[in-house]
Symmetry: C2
Amino acid sequence: MKIGELAKRTGCSVQAIRYYEKENLLPSTRRSDGNFRLYDESYIEQLSFIRLCRGLDLSLSEVRQLLSLKNSPGADCDEVNYMMEAHIQQVEARINDLMELNDQLRALRSYCSDQQTVENCGILQSLSSSVDDRPTGDTHDRHNGATFSG
Amino acid sequence: MKIGELAKRTGCSVQAIRYYEKENLLPSTRRSDGNFRLYDESYIEQLSFIRLCRGLDLSLSEVRQLLSLKNSPGADCDEVNYMMEAHIQQVEARINDLMELNDQLRALRSYCSDQQTVENCGILQSLSSSVDDRPTGDTHDRHNGATFSG
DNA sequence: ATTGACTCTATAGTCACTATAGAGTTTAGA
DNA sequence: TCTAAACTCTATAGTGACTATAGAGTCAAT
Ligand SMILES: [Zn+2]
Ligand SMILES: [Zn+2]
Ligand SMILES: [Zn+2]
Ligand SMILES: [Zn+2]
């Protein structure tokens, strides 16, 4: 099976598959005479595993860890648990952030009644007012927003 | 006031301020003899406005729109409302996605009881199983994930 | 032989910045 | 006055997980 068929059967894009290979999430395949990648059925499962993890918002680096654990069946699964726990907590923190954000947005929206001019718009007025009792911001970090210092 | 002081007083990084200028969210300033940017007090408010919007997860392009509306006080504020509405809906959709995701993650976590080997880990087993009745994924799009076709 | 569909690599772009290099400027103290 | 520290400047590369594109090659059918 060539890459296009694999893409179609897994719902991935062709470029994503090549990207996963480059990032060592999928092992390199043999190639045809014309240098086309040739996949066997096992790749469907492997790629589906990755897709599933991505659907759970796991980062590629987390998926890489899971894959490497999958390949050491004797190890115990502390690491899996630890990662899942950390991931869940991140997701929950993000949910809390967003819900707080949502409250603020709704409050803001309520400041604007119908058909006013921008000049009198409560939304813009509120956004332009002083910011003293607001949180410091930066609470809405992305999943892997590490500060890389090397 | 030089850029460092503005940064300190607003909680922005120096680079972010320069970035906002480059992206036309902040007007260019006059410069000192040595080509340093010089800001007056009004920039504190302007930058705070931007920060506040960003704290609400508004994209820079949305902030740009708000700023340009702020500068046409006679216009009516339909556009503000429309944008806020769309933004709120995006945030709420994202919250719903994440809550569904969270349920899945918690279910997954419950499959692993204490101290098992990877081989027997319910989490990995579940992730490796077939994917038939799962959603198609790609529901967790980022804020501005437009497909630019130009 | 040619068309069209597919594939290849390499590269640039997305977003909102951060980090760095290498240069110049200003300020304080010796 | 010299110098060192602290600051600023521009320009460029990097972040994540891809998408989009260019320009070339491959393959099957006509
Ligand atoms: Zn995670
Ligand atoms: Zn209004
Ligand atoms: Zn928005
Ligand atoms: Zn387990």
